[in-house]
Subunit: 266 residues, 2 copies
């Protein structure tokens, strides 16, 4: 069983509730990697018998550090329309709220479609690049190859005016892409403040929003191959900053755009 | 009393609940302007006696069309930490959920701060530009002046490869900026799909996330003067697209970044 599937495992216990547990393979500095936390909340909606359609948007708020061990998720389809469905998501440990969220699902139909943001061109492919090392357990479950800008090289560098980078990303070992793994991949971009300041300092994501541009067929077509990720900071001010990113498939189609606010200390 | 303050009026009725009503001045095609709906949900948290700090992030999901008339808002501080507070927000009419949301509030402290996204330079100021007309009632409460790209001029045009524009924005009549009005201003950017396709078609925002980079003192310092708004589309696919935008003060500091997913029909 792939480590990601172990982290996503949920047992339905009725009344929109599911039991799960944190996964040692995805341990972070404190508690688990936020990407898997967000993904397992989305997975509760994906597994819910009343689900309509596929994810369009997901917002996850990290209200407190998650302790290693069991948790409960409540995923409520609070409003189901003809082609859209609105969810509220809540994760608790011992009755205390650790994570809140909302999701929008929809049944899409074919319409005029077009990109506006464009993936960068002319980057070396993943096979031409070394795999980035990582000290934290969760990083071992991802194959990351920096194609432009390296958050790791910035750790002892000078301050920089931007934190743009491009990175090839996939699960390690390889795993066919699905909505839950795409949601987790959207949190794999290292903190932009490290790149801007040229040093590591305490940080924590407080909220994260992901918009899904792919349907299940597009994800299945990408399969196990690396996605291209592009990311940059937006604005850093008095303890909080935001960063935005995109994930692209082999055909340079955008699969997801994602935004998050990160708390940082000086 | 300013029309915006009428739209923001809430009566606390205990147990995290507030009563309010839609405002004819902010009527949209169907129901009220989504910007005021999001702002009044934020306002419930702002008015709540247990509030800690100021808004950092707000997500609003438009679950169904709001009917003209009374509504109830539930704003629950589900987790209060030392310097952050997490809220769940819910608006109902007749017991049915019309809008869901979450917010993060925080007490900021001074740290290293820097922009990464930069406001465009060399644009004509608001006094050099005509006020944009608007057919819908809510538009009359905003003074909008297009400094680069006009969503209105695009209505009978050809398809375009991008939907970037810059617009001066303020309440009309002028009103001192605060968090609620900033949240509403973040929804004043016209639908990017009109600009891309050169035609108007049915649309509706399904979810919107705003990150606040300003504190109350920065908002007070800007007062009643126009903000510069910059916006662009991200990706359009099979009935849904996302657009991102920023609002800037006179000193070219970013006050908010905002993202939304919009449903559209061909």
């Amino acid at each position: 069983m792939h480590p990601f599937d172990i982290a996503m495992a949920l047992t339905p216990v009725g009344d929109d509730r599911f039991h799960g547990a944190t996964s040692p393979a995805y341990a972070n500095m404190v508690g688990p990697f936020g990407g898997t936390t967000g993904a397992v909340l989305l997975n509760a909606a994906l597994l819910h018998p009343a689900r309509l359609g596929e994810p369009i948007a997901l917002t996850i708020n990290f209200a407190s550090a998650l302790a290693d061990g069991a948790f409960e998720i409540e995923a409520c389809p609070v409003r189901t329309n003809r082609s859209t469905q609105h969810w509220t998501l809540r994760q608790t440990q011992g009755g205390e709220v650790t994570t809140t969220g909302t999701a929008v699902f929809a049944v899409r139909r074919p319409t005029w479609s077009a990109p506006e943001a464009i993936a960068p061109d002319g980057l070396p492919g993943p096979d031409a690049l070394p795999r980035a090392p990582g000290r934290l357990p969760w990083v071992a479950n991802y194959d990351m190859r920096f194609a432009h800008g390296s958050p790791l090289a910035a750790h002892d560098g000078p301050e920089r005016p931007d934190s743009e980078n491009a990175v090839w990303l996939r699960d390690e070992p390889p795993r066919p892409l699905d909505f839950a793994s795409l949601a987790a991949l959207c949190d794999c971009f290292f903190p932009r403040v490290y790149m801007r300041r040229g040093k590591i300092a305490p940080i924590g994501t407080v909220t994260m929003t992901t918009y899904f541009h792919a349907d299940a067929a597009m994800l299945a077509a990408q399969g196990e191959r690396s996605l291209l990720g592009t990311a940059r900071g937006v604005n850093f001010r008095n303890g909080y900053y935001d960063q935005s990113a995109e994930l692209w498939n082999d055909a340079r189609q955008q699969l997801a755009s994602t935004h998050q606010v990160v708390y940082f200390r000086d």
